[in-house]
Symmetry: C2
Subunit: 412 residues, 2 copies
């Protein structure tokens, strides 16, 4: 709904009706008939027709010849209306220390192009920013149907660290040297001549889960990103909660009393105490140590040779197959993780906890162990589940965020 | 503002104008003149006069003879209007394991009666509930001006534990045996024949601080109750945040890794791990142990004889006077407290942290030590301050809560 206008009267009603009809058209799987629109909006048939005429005049909607529509025919085929989702595109970009993932979607939110780029070998923030720009350009090129090179309607960039959404840069990203302080928004806006937005990656994961994943039906949830880095985002009343300094959910920096001293310095090398306890790298280190008793065993040999990318899947596969050492490791990992998850649950009291990130690919054995480990540490136990979107959630959330930002341009 | 009415037109405008004028009158220190009301509301003089006539007809407002008003006189004295705050009363009740505090306020929020009752010797929840009822009746009796015994317009009861605001009882109060499960709201509603509301005490502390204390100017804050029990309430967008199961802010149950094992059982005797680490009783135990090296010293002798009520003031007075042992104890306490406060700050990212409860009476030495101990554990440091309302904050918050609930009865 737009802000209060100078007066009230028929033209305001007509505007509201257009918005209603357009919203239904944009979310419809198949092009609806006038009667469908009338039922979905509660508007009269003439009011729907008027709205369709206005939307058609603005180029947002087109009428379909009944012959074009593959729909069951009973009686005279009715005319259908279609939102012209191809009118423009938005781009969601997930930028991380290891990969860049670009998704281009039409105005109905259908992803029409995806680009993925490994940037593990890039040495600095500026190089990563240039690579992100190239990946965006590539994604846009993939969807150009004619000769005309159209700028996207909006680009949302997802970044780790403490993000300044207002200034358009990042204040702190220990995982990406040289990224903090770069004028990310300015550089990309210059290159693509369209609005560019910057948002925290874990927040966008939650937006993605709320759009297409397991947060669709709840207004209160927490998303925990569990990889080498650990972070959380919090959904309150259906809206991501950012905190007074856009720094809420910094789970990775919790000190849950490791090694008995409890006085761990905040961030040795920019990695938080909880990340040092149970991030992907810490899990691998722990697994190597715990499996060393059987130094000739298959598990230890596999883990000795592997990095986190292949080591953790091997560990979790062994646990799923019932290997007792692997099972003990997973149990220890779950108990360590619960020591950080419990404070989050005790303080925020979410209805649902969604665990995403690379470690969440461990699947059921880890999830079950985490549920058991958390149960004894909280007063109210939320549902705990794994992210179905996996590592796509950030880029999809960025697409949704960009789509939300162009809503105003879809008003007639 | 009330909900949408069936139509729009002059009568709706007139209603809105009445609400505006009444709101100004209710919050005014001195009875305003018509011109003051016109300036404060933006309404024309005739519109203000019409609103005053309506409000006067309903008995909510009275006109004051200029001679009754002590105001500077320049020119002809203007008539003034006054909200009849004495029309009714509301009651805020803070019920805890040791004391019951009742505050009765008029409809402008001025506290006109206070009753305080020690209930440390009461043996069960039912007995405490009966005592609370008697204290409320006493407070109401104090403000009866005529012969008529009028029921209060609303009573808000503040309780520790997990409060079911809907059911009107408490699910879990380890600190008050027999209190959980009592039909608190039903019993008091029966006795006082008025609406009775139940709310979590720490939430109401925050409401009190937002009304009259140090949260007046912020929309994002955390209130930490620090006594024998430890709890927190969270202000988001100016509204207390309760969580999906009305269980947010359970700081006292955080396990911050005491004694190296980190696997403390959740609640031995219903007291949370963080409360066992740094609640009032734990501080006294720590102080006795740390001062034992100088067993003949004044500090150790004082602490050995004292309970938390007198021992902690003695400890903090010694620290304020520069006693090195007391200073070291305060420093240790602050570091332990920071281990729980840091997760709260890292996860919620509030603009301001307000520390209340008995321990907060320690004042500046402890506050300074807490600020220093927190600084190395968080990414964004909020303002950290002490509650100016102290142990009054809960009852005052309950008064504000009850006042909010009677807003609808003030509509003409």
């Amino acid at each position: 709904m737009r802000h209060a206008t100078a007066g009230t009267g028929p033209h305001v009603l007509r505007e509201i009706n257009r918005d209603l009809v357009l919203r239904i058209l944009r979310s419809a799987e198949d092009p609806p008939r006038v009667i469908d629109l009338s039922q979905a909006t509660g508007l009269s048939r003439p009011a729907v027709m008027r709205a369709l005429a206005d939307l058609g005049g603005a180029g947002l909607v087109e009428s379909l010849d009944p012959a074009d529509v593959a729909a069951p025919r009973i009686g005279r085929p009715a005319q259908r209306a279609r939102f012209r989702a191809e009118l423009g595109h938005v781009v969601g970009v997930d930028v991380g220390p290891h990969k860049i993932l670009v998704k281009v979607a039409d105005l109905a939110g259908r992803v029409v192009a995806t680009r993925r780029l490994d940037v593990s070998d890039r040495t600095g923030g500026a190089e990563i920013l240039a690579a992100a720009g190239d990946a965006i350009a590539g994604g846009i090129a993939d969807v150009r149907t004619g000769a005309a090179a159209c700028a996207p309607w909006a680009i949302t960039v997802a970044s780790p660290g403490l993000v300044s959404t207002g200034r358009g840069d990042v204040r702190l990203t220990p995982s990406m040297p040289g990224w903090a302080g770069l004028p990310i928004v300015d550089v990309l806006r210059e290159r693509f001549d369209c609005p560019v937005l910057l948002e925290h990656d874990v927040t966008l994961s939650l937006v993605g889960e709320r759009w297409l994943g397991v947060a669709r039906d709840v207004d209160s949830a927490v998303f925990v990103q569990w990889g080498e880095r650990i972070g959380a985002s919090i959904l309150i009343n259906g809206v991501p909660y950012r905190g007074a300094h856009v720094a809420a959910g910094e789970l990775g920096f919790l000190d849950v009393g490791t090694a008995g001293s409890g006085d761990t310095p905040l961030a040795a090398g920019g990695v938080g105490p909880f990340e040092r306890l149970v991030g992907a790298q810490a899990i691998l280190t722990l697994a190597r140590a715990m499996s060393a008793a059987d130094a000739g065993g298959a598990l230890h040999r596999t883990l000795s040779l592997a990095g986190p990318d292949s080591g953790l899947p091997a560990l979790f596969a062994a646990a799923a197959a019932g290997d007792p050492t692997a099972t003990a490791i997973v149990d220890t990992v779950a108990h360590r993780f619960a020591r950080g998850l419990a404070p989050l649950i005790l303080l925020v009291d979410p209805q649902r906890v969604i665990i995403g990130g690379g470690v969440s690919r461990a699947g059921a054995p880890l999830l079950d162990a985490v549920r058991a480990a958390v149960a004894g540490r909280v007063l109210e136990t939320p549902e705990i589940t794994l992210s179905p979107l996996g590592e796509e959630s950030v880029a999809l959330g960025a697409v949704r965020h960009a789509l939300d930002s162009v809503e105003d341009r879809l008003r007639v």
